[in-house]
Symmetry: none
Subunit: 153 residues, 2 copies
């Protein structure tokens, strides 16, 4: 766009494609969040780079996307998530236990010690406030429609 008329075709040049990808992804995300804010809708998207070994990108967040997908009645994402969290708790326990052990040993030996367990960076999700309401979500009967109608409900 912009300089010359847009050529709506696949960009073979990797560097150029990457730049365009990043720019447009950013713009797309912005548009999406705006739509969500303005109209109070829950939305998510998934993008699969064509490269075989690449990972999918999701928006607005992994947590939100998973939750939406689960509501989609297609995936038991919630269960998987719970399992993951359970594992995380287990890891935390182990760390705490190890820490405790170290502490005791050192104290018993009359030594100074500094034990620092940094567990920050635990997932924080950008979940819009209005997403919290269960009642907002469609109960079921997921019907995929390309929605030509565009109507509200």
């Amino acid at each position: 766009m912009t300089r010359n008329g847009v050529k709506l075709a696949y960009i073979s040049n990797d560097a150029a494609k990457n730049v365009t990808y990043k720019k447009r992804k950013k713009g797309l995300v912005k548009k999406m969040s705006e739509l969500s804010t303005l109209c109070g809708v829950e939305a998510c998207a998934i993008i699969y780079p064509s490269t075989c070994n690449s990972h999918p990108k999701v928006w607005p967040s992994a947590v939100t996307t998973h939750r939406m997908l689960s509501h989609f009645k297609m995936l038991s994402v919630v269960e998987r998530s719970n399992r993951t969290m359970a594992q995380e708790r287990l890891v935390r326990q182990r760390i705490a236990h190890a820490d405790e052990k170290v502490k005791k040993l050192c104290e018993n030996n009359h030594r100074k010690e500094i034990t620092q367990v940094n567990l920050d960076r635990v997932p924080k999700s950008h979940i819009p406030p209005w997403l919290e309401t269960e009642s907002n979500l469609p109960n079921q009967g997921v019907v995929f429609d390309e929605d030509k109608s565009g109507g509200w409900t």
Copy 2:
């Protein structure tokens, strides 16, 4: 936008909201299809109108979306599992190492020591790093992600 500066806030007026919704949804879909075409990515998006009994709208099509979600599900299970296990092993190693260290220190017991066990960034497993977000529309997909990196693969 356009006439006056955009007020990025929820539109309470139903009629106005509906109009904006339709217009912006259309634009979003277009952007999505363009991203797909230009960068060769597969993308899909799901939007849930907040109204309880409404159906979600999806892009690009029911079939494509289903296929992508299936793929997403599989990836999630495998990758997540692998990653979690890898992290658990890592934590085990670190704990073992810390224990070893403390043991030596205590045994030697000749002078003061400072033992620092830094286990930062351990869990974080809740959301795999490779999970990013984005979104798209029309006949293709949309992806939105938290991923600031924006890298290609």
